[in-house]
Amino acid sequence: MSEQISALVGRSYSGFSTVAEAGLVGMVTLRGDLGSAELVAAVLAATGCAMPGQRRRVVAGDWSVCWMSPDELLLVGPYASAPGLVDQLTAALEGQHALAVDVSDARASFSVTGPKAAEVLMKLCPVDFAALAEDEVRRTRLGQIAAALWKSGRDSGREEYSLVCFRSVASYAFGVLENAARPGSELFAG
């Protein structure tokens, strides 16, 4: 195995919130009939996670499962485990109309941390963060690129959002997040 690096090799910036690229994260796209017993069982067996509802996220140990669309899940976990997980799911879903594929390298992951983390994202995403549920996955627009985000504070014990975008635009994503987190540009007092 050769040297593996994430898009921005963990770059971070501390403004009124801290923006950090999260390094390599394992991600598997699973497409199929999310209502089928086989698929539900395969996901549970592979990740320990129950099937999330619409736009929800289920966490169990190392792996979490995000609902991305009516026929698509994103499984998030340790980078090194992703290829094995794909093999496991593919084997379990043999004969089913399903697709499991490793997309870890096609993505960049970020965290935005701090009491005002939402204010960073409010500048870039047309999302009502006050209405975002604790376990909700929101796919939206971050500036000019597509992104998925969710509150990850429960996992890390901090005020934190996680954000995923395509790898090729990691530099842009970091740039707009950094710019939005500049001290003095807080949206609300206190």
């Binding site: 994430s6 409010m122 047309p126 690129i145 790898r167 530099s171 710019n179 003095g184």
Partner: protein, 993 residues
């Protein structure tokens, strides 16, 4: 003269003096001042000159409606022209310069236009400059250019930063006066999520100035309590210095926050544009006082009556020592009272109404102030400053009855509700004849996605002008829960519509009555337009420029409409209004651009090897949003020399290309083969596992949209390579057909473009490098041309495709993106002994053009079908259907006389210009030379040492050997022979080794 009063000033902090400069002159103001207040406190009434006649102009208003007092603010990278002094907060170190004059504000040569005024009536520009023609270029245009423009354009890049933010609310309240506060309180107490926005730096609006008493409290105290109550509510967000600039579809509102205009350089964003989605917007935007049209009403010192009392009460500034109030309503009497309370002289109140007997006139009379009933102003005396007024009978023609000395004229023609936001998104207006105003028609509001009203108006913005009515209206607009605040105050008598003063004024007076101060439009101009047949208010606006200035007619529109209506002998509602468009007042381009500047202007897509290319001095080419190396210059090479070197090296040793940007779409499922057979013109379902096949994709219109190599990965999965620019588009195209047409087919797609870094290892020695890296059998036997294998190459998880876009022995190796840089570096290092060097996109183009391979976007332009390109071999004749098949059978598509692809070889070896047209005999219906072809790709071939090109030529393939004429620059003609488009290795031996 104007001056600072010794006491009072509810908004200023006398312990905090600030120094600033106006036209280089140092001046002092107080924290809390607007620049208008500071200037008046320094006796600077004259602040600019008008646009057309360069007439001296002073401050007229105290807020956003100010038409005259525009200045250039700041310096260097923070300079901005056309800033209203009435909405600019004074801060330490502020610099402002006056505009529209030369050489100085006091002595302006352009003012000669004023003497020519009778030669510059409405429509002058349209009429005058039509004839004689030659005068346009040498006389008129230079004159207009010299005079044109308002303010100076900033010369430096903007030093500030800007941003945007999204917000969501049940209710947005625009305006933080007593109506807005009442509406916000009412809605917030009912549990609504409320955003309350106020464009100035203070809550409360006019009420504290007007001396309102609310719930038994002075307005100031009531406002303070209301703000405190709102601040304590978690469901309320409040923001000062934030103007709702526009209301749009489905409750979308833009609000413009001037975060740091008053603290420049403090590191905060200068402006922030809020993009708000509101369930409803309540416009509590108040009303704007109307000027009166009397001769000389633009002379500095003539001001709106309410503005005069604003300056006195808010900033302790006296606009002058001796004021004449002229009015058609009771409200203006408040100005007389405020002036008297401040110890200033009110020479008289001139009331156009036959009698004034209400509470407020009575209070004024009780102070011993003269009230003249049924009178008007015949003319204002003075030039750069008012010196007095001549009084006449309002009903007469202007015979002067007496003259009164004064240095301020405080005028009030009544009030117009600010209906802009209501109107932006389709809210309708109704003419209220009793109040002589257009007000929002509550029965015809702007509507949202469910057809529901998305706006309501509150207070003066509804047309409610008395405090008690304002509060009741605002309370009702916000749902009416709980108790409405109560107000007591003097009863006010009705206003009398007075559109010109005196009503019988002749042309001599009317040509000195200004309607639009900034654009110099007078009553006589609008009447002339009407005489000349301009009946539509929109046409009259453009012909006279009434309301077209930066203030968008906030003061002038209603008076102009009334004058036009009178001239057309019709009622005002028959004339109608012009259209209200956002923004309410100009907002900065910076705020519209937001964060998108510099590095983050737009997403630049980068491959995993981007940093390496950059370190090697790659010369970049934008390809869609990607940046790809065009070439890698070495030493003192030009780009052209570098490209030649890269081509030759690739043909003789090894070239390395970062091909990561190529689209890679996985298509899997029981119906995947069937799906791909519909998508591609060829057959993909029969492709054996492990094999590659070139494919063409058309839209259902028949036109070629993408091409690439398809690889059968397994029994039920295929990998579709697309062009760099096509990856996202083609993935979307696939999903479109799968979701919207063939939704019962069992097919899944996944766009894996960025999962892999892909390196093309190209050239006669390519195999040596792969063998040296080791781990996979890449021999001709094990991995022949157009096959694929998966394995570990040099320790990397690799997919190796034996495909070629150059005609050379070529392997495209895909590794996980996270290993892309390491793999690339390994190829460079291990390949050194074989002469491996990277090549860029231009060499890629030359290599493919030498082989006659098409490039989507060069040979195709959305009107080209595969048949035009000699690609019939890639089109299945057996398939009953594929996207584009039916279209390609249409008569024009099947026409044998289409332009078709050929090679072009110049007779002199030169390189044809890209896009050059081959001419034919004769001319077309437009008298243009007929054409018979055009160049689609053209390069210098370093291998063949001459120019090579491809082009689409009428019946081209049937005309081999013919010579075509390509006219190029300077009347020259380049001749080129039609040849086969494969210039190099015609038999394709090299790629098969």
């Amino acid at each position: 003269m104007s001056a600072r009063l010794s006491r009072g000033g509810r908004l200023i902090d006398r312990r905090a003096p600030v120094t600033f400069r106006f036209d280089g002159k140092p001046m002092t103001g107080f924290a809390g001042d607007t620049l208008a207040a500071s200037l008046l406190a320094n006796d600077q009434m004259l602040v600019g000159r008008s646009f057309k006649y360069h007439r001296p102009r002073g401050i007229v208003a105290s807020g956003a409606e100010e038409p005259n007092a525009l200045v250039g603010l700041g310096q260097g990278p923070r300079f901005e022209p056309n800033q209203r002094v009435t909405t600019t907060e004074t801060f330490e170190g502020l610099t402002a310069i006056s505009q529209n004059h030369w050489p100085s504000l006091e002595y302006d040569i352009g003012a000669v236009n004023g003497y020519l005024a009778r030669f510059l009536p409405a429509g002058f520009y349209y009429k005058m400059f039509l004839w004689p023609r030659p005068f346009w270029k040498h006389v008129y245009e230079p004159f207009i250019r010299q005079s044109a423009g308002l303010g100076k354009v900033p010369q430096d890049a903007d030093a500030d930063r800007y941003e945007q933010a999204y917000a969501f609310a049940d209710l947005v309240v625009a305006g933080g006066g007593i109506a807005g506060l009442t509406a916000a309180l009412t809605a917030a107490r009912a549990g609504k999520r409320v955003i309350l926005l106020e464009q100035t730096a203070h809550w409360g609006g006019r009420a504290p100035v007007d001396g309102d008493v609310i719930d038994g409290m002075a307005a100031d105290l009531w406002v303070k309590n209301a703000v405190q109550a709102l601040e304590g509510m978690a469901n309320v967000t409040m923001r000062l210095r934030t103007m709702v600039s526009g209301l749009y579809d489905h409750g979308y509102a833009l609000a413009y926050e001037r975060v740091a205009d008053h603290t420049p350089g403090d590191g905060r964003p200068r402006h922030r544009l809020w993009r708000i989605r509101a369930g409803k917007v309540i416009t509590a935007t108040g009303a704007i006082e109307r000027p009166l049209s009397f001769a000389g009403n633009d002379i500095p010192g003539v001001m709106l009556a309410a503005a005069v009392r604003d300056f006195v009460v808010n900033w302790a500034v006296s606009p002058g020592d001796r004021t004449v109030v002229v009015t058609n309503n009771d409200d203006a009497y408040r100005t007389a009272l405020v002036l008297a309370d401040a110890g200033l002289v009110v020479a008289a109140v001139i009331d156009a109404r036959p009698s004034a007997t209400g509470d407020l006139p009575a209070q004024v009379r009780a102070r011993g102030i003269r009230v003249l009933e049924g009178r008007g102003i015949a003319k204002v005396k003075g030039a750069k400053r008012v010196t007095g007024v001549a009084i006449c009978a309002q009903e007469g023609e202007g015979a002067v009855l007496e003259e009164i000395a004064c240095d301020v004229v405080a005028m009030s023609g009544g009030w117009s509700p600010v209906v802009h936001l209501w109107s932006h998104c389709g809210g309708k207006l109704v003419w209220d004849a009793e109040a002589s105003m257009f007000r929002p028609d509550a029965a015809r509001p702007p509507t949202g996605d469910a057809g529901q009203p998305i706006a309501a108006t509150a207070g003066a913005a509804s047309g409610a002008l008395q405090t008690a009515a304002v509060l009741a209206d605002a309370h009702a607009a916000a749902g009416g829960e709980g108790l409405a605040p109560q107000a007591t105050g003097p009863a006010e008598a009705a206003m009398l519509p007075v559109w010109i003063m005196p009503q019988g004024a002749g042309n001599a007076l009317k040509s000195k009555m200004w309607l639009d101060y900034q654009n110099d439009v007078k009553v006589s101009d609008v009447q002339l337009a009407a005489r000349e047949g301009y009946e539509s208010v929109e046409h009259t606006k453009r012909y006279t420029t009434l309301g077209m200035a930066t203030d968008q007619g906030k003061l002038s529109n209603i008076n102009g409409l009334a004058v036009l209506s009178n001239a057309l002998h019709q009622e005002i509602p028959a004339t109608g209004t012009t259209t209200f468009r956002p923004p309410y007042t100009p907002i900065s381009l910076g705020s519209i651009g937001g964060e998108a500047r510099g590095e983050i202007f737009q997403p630049l897509r980068q491959t995993p090897m981007h940093g390496w290319h950059e370190a090697q001095g790659a010369y970049w080419e934008p390809v869609g949003q990607w940046r790809r190396p065009y070439c890698y210059k070495r030493g003192g090479e030009t780009a052209h020399e570098a490209v030649n070197r890269e081509v030759i090296n690739t043909r003789s040793n090894i070239g390395l290309l970062d091909a990561s940007t190529l689209g890679k779409i996985l298509v899997k499922g029981a119906d995947a083969g069937r799906f791909l057979d519909m998508l591609y013109t060829g057959v993909m379902s029969t492709l054996p596992v492990g094999k590659c096949r070139y494919g063409l994709m058309c839209n259902d219109n028949g036109f070629l949209i993408d091409d690439g190599v398809v690889v059968r990965l397994s029994e039920d999965s295929w990998l579709c390579h697309t062009t760099t620019g096509g990856a996202d588009r083609i993935h979307a195209h696939m999903e479109d057909w799968l979701q919207c047409e063939w939704w019962d087919w069992k097919v899944h797609t996944a766009n894996l473009t960025e999962q892999y870094a892909q390196v093309a290892i190209v050239g006669p020695k390519a195999r040596m490098l792969l063998e040296k890296l080791g781990g996979m059998d890449v021999s001709r036997e094990a991995l022949p041309f157009m096959t694929y294998a998966e394995g570990t190459l040099g320790g990397f998880r690799a997919r190796v495709f034996r495909i070629s876009f150059s005609g050379e022995l070529s392997y495209e190796v895909a590794v996980p993106a996270s290993e892309g840089l390491a793999f690339w570096e390994a190829c460079v290092a291990e390949g050194a002994e074989f002469g491996a060097m990277p090549y860029g996109t231009e060499a890629l183009h030359v290599l493919r053009a030498e082989k006659g391979f098409i490039m989507i976007g060069d040979e195709t332009d959305g009107t080209v079908i595969p048949q035009d390109l000699g690609l019939g071999w890639a089109i299945s004749k057996k398939k009953p259907d594929y996207l584009g098949k039916r279209a390609q059978e249409r008569s024009h598509m099947a026409d044998p006389n289409r332009w078709k692809l050929v090679g072009l070889e110049t007779l002199d070896g030169s390189v044809l210009p890209d896009g050059a047209l081959a001419v034919a005999e004769g001319v077309n219906a437009n008298g243009q030379r007929r054409t018979q072809g055009r160049v689609t790709s053209t390069y210098h071939s370093p291998v063949l040492k001459k120019g090579i090109a491809m082009g689409l030529v009428l019946n081209g393939p049937g005309r081999m050997g013919e010579v075509l004429d390509f006219p190029v620059d300077d009347g020259k003609v380049v001749q080129a022979r039609i040849v086969d488009q494969v210039f190099y290795d015609k038999d394709g031996e090299k790629q098969n080794v």
